[in-house]
Symmetry: C3
Amino acid sequence: MTVEQLAKRLGAELACGSGVRGLGSGVRGQIKAVGPVETAGGDEVTFVTRGSGVRGRGSGVWGLGRAALLRSRAGAVIVGERIEGLAMPQLIVRNVDAALIEALGIFAPRLKRQEEGIDPSAKVGQDVKIAQGVSIEAGAVISDKAEIGQGSVIGSGCKIGENSSIGANCRLDGNVVVYHNCRIGNNVIIQANSTIGSTGFGYCCIEGEHKLIPHNGGVVIEDFVEIGANCCVDRAKFGNTVIGAGTKIDNLVQIAHNVIIGRCCLIAGQVGIAGSCKIGDGVVLGGQAGVTDNIKIGDGAMIGGQSGVFQDVPPKGRLFGTPATGIAEASKIISLTKRLPKLAETVKQLRKRIEKLESAFAKASADRQKTE
Amino acid sequence: MTVEQLAKRLGAELACGSGVRGLGSGVRGQIKAVGPVETAGGDEVTFVTRGSGVRGRGSGVWGLGRAALLRSRAGAVIVGERIEGLAMPQLIVRNVDAALIEALGIFAPRLKRQEEGIDPSAKVGQDVKIAQGVSIEAGAVISDKAEIGQGSVIGSGCKIGENSSIGANCRLDGNVVVYHNCRIGNNVIIQANSTIGSTGFGYCCIEGEHKLIPHNGGVVIEDFVEIGANCCVDRAKFGNTVIGAGTKIDNLVQIAHNVIIGRCCLIAGQVGIAGSCKIGDGVVLGGQAGVTDNIKIGDGAMIGGQSGVFQDVPPKGRLFGTPATGIAEASKIISLTKRLPKLAETVKQLRKRIEKLESAFAKASADRQKTE
Amino acid sequence: MTVEQLAKRLGAELACGSGVRGLGSGVRGQIKAVGPVETAGGDEVTFVTRGSGVRGRGSGVWGLGRAALLRSRAGAVIVGERIEGLAMPQLIVRNVDAALIEALGIFAPRLKRQEEGIDPSAKVGQDVKIAQGVSIEAGAVISDKAEIGQGSVIGSGCKIGENSSIGANCRLDGNVVVYHNCRIGNNVIIQANSTIGSTGFGYCCIEGEHKLIPHNGGVVIEDFVEIGANCCVDRAKFGNTVIGAGTKIDNLVQIAHNVIIGRCCLIAGQVGIAGSCKIGDGVVLGGQAGVTDNIKIGDGAMIGGQSGVFQDVPPKGRLFGTPATGIAEASKIISLTKRLPKLAETVKQLRKRIEKLESAFAKASADRQKTE
């Protein structure tokens, strides 16, 4: 695909480069991939965005420095507004992120189209409802009364428990286990080796022994949720553990029983959310953060990486640390903690000065009394 | 089942409600499920307990407030002693936790009875001993010389390694991997995607390269241990990694090589225990806590969530923080740390007052000398 | 095998014990296993080393104390230099670690030799290249255009994605999932339930919704890398996520998209490395440590357990804490933090003394003025 053709596909205004740099640098140069500014070659299109990912400092033109872009050997660049002095052609778009996602889709590796149908080595139970266009891969096990919605792909080695339902256009990758009585919406992605609907960690101590509390509840995963690899979502004791529509979860995340997560949250890798927490809409949890049980986190709150949340968090709260406190307070405390050696030294000096003053004053008083 | 019938099943004394609230609120009302005070409907029985789970603040009547119970629309309530002024029937029992577990069992979802026998797609090696009443599900692999005890269920996709034994009445859920030479006792539950007997992280640096130390040891998991989903228990270099009887382990927990865990411990989600630690009986480790290698933790100790244990812990020790210290000291330090800005300001003010005193004193001395 | 024969196998100089302690204690005593100093019996050889593992304080003779060795009932001991006064025979070697690894290999449990060939229940796609001596176990799925190198073992339930390659002499244990377009070198071990090549956690917010950034890149795992159980290595957005030759990774570790890890690193359990980090050669990350995105860690740096790295780390940096700082500074701060109650008390006392001085001085001034 040429730069010109790509611009058309992205609905971009095409600005020619200010110089001729030979093969691949013009609007007729061939583009074969998307690449970052630093490494993109002449057959790659690069981009200037304000960053991506949860805490992505990304590749913003000012962050990286204009110099990096000027040095870039990319065949073209996707930008939000024209940048002066660039030799390469520019594809000017209204929304760089959206154009970037589209371009990445255009140049995505071509994989074999998923075959529809049920692999002969898969095992399908009784009273199972399987919609059209479904693919059930090798060795998958679909238990009795389960339902699989239109166009969904159940990866090899997956287990779908009794009476659980998977919506339309879902993708469960290899070896995902979904226990019984779970409801998974439409357009949900669950990556390899994740576990949905395991029994939660709830015990009563009866006569000195821990007795498991039966978990009669289930799990509800709403539309457009995406869950990474090797995650765990426990089923509820009563009612359901719920993950709200559009929420995205990274790898190795633990969601305990009866947790209710709102819509469009971002939950980074290795986060742990203990039992019965209520997480609002649009909440962001940084990597390895932990939330103790029965906590409420308000809409739009952001919790820094490795933080430990032991108290309710108001909407739009920005927290950091263990125990987590407001980010401004946390920063001040961190900086003062670093200055503790200096503070301790200052106090030591002050004590000496006070001692000196005390003895000087005592001496002066004594002198004066003598004088009198 | 009516409230009356349920009371009989639980061996509860039945106290009629103080008011008539229509359908389902009397002793002949139908009960179909157990539900929490806040959401239970007329066909659900609720309960008043001191809480459940590791750090569960739970649903104690005083915690929740009497008001919540008075507002509850539940059809009946299980209580430890009669509560005055309640409209709903009360089921008075000696042990609410035990009655709750029994009631949850009565109302548990009805799942298909596990079929005995070996699924045709499972692969069973040579010299394997399989007791009566065992179920080996689709695609499971049982290696040579393994043993499976009476009534145990080996879930689909599980691998049981050479010469490993699983006791009676165990349940290994989907895709659990047990390596060779592991001994698992009776009544053990291991949830999906967990790994038992992987080689531990032990290397020697020889001529600049990390060489793996062969792990000749195994894993011993004693009776009534329950292990969550996506956990790892490494095999020992020598001897065995041991998990003592009745210990319960949450999801995504890491137990390293040669760790010895005592009886009846509770180990919450994402905890990591490094090599050769010795954990006593009845120890509680909060979520995401970490214990560095070769540490001893005494019986009955409790370690707070996210704590990092770098020193031995005495029996019944209560620790928190990184590095973990006694909970009282840790609380004091946390509260003083929060007051660091104030302390720094105080020190600044004191310095000014000292300077003022010093110059005033110097001036007074000078004046006096002049006078003299 | 006798002690004499073992000495020969290890190329060790044999020093007879100073005493006769009966069965198994002489050079003709039978040795059947390797055991630690504290528990080794008469038919076991023990060893004295400076420790093993990442933070292993190990079993060094001075660490343990000479007394433990003198008390040991082992049949023989592997040492780096002769220890006086020992009753048991000593096998003196140049490199204890290397000899220990060799001895452990000699006494490793005898497992059934891996059968070559493809299990009938495995599924192999089109245009797959499988070299000689490969074993593909039950239920494994090898997708189109994948390659498996000579002598490699693909465990039961593994999935190898389209166009991915596994080198020679690799071992992938049960239920490992490798997605498409991943390149795994030679002599690589990946333990059970790990996931390689999952899509990373990268989203753009477009019109209020999180849109997944397509991950067109792959994963490159170089020779002699070893990865524990239940780990995740995400594929790159562009280019590759790379794990350098000889690097060893423990269980439950998260490696995010576009991370570049150097050679011969040691990454302990439950570590999380966020997107686009560059980790140098020989870096050691302690258990549960976290590294935020886009961080550079220099060659030979060591990061303590549970630390949170929020800034670049210079080569050979030694860091600890959250946010991580130099280990010396961190230790000082930790110790001063512990003394905060005392510091606060000191400041309180100083204020009192200042107040006393101030009023005394004021009184003295007033007196003097009166006098004058």
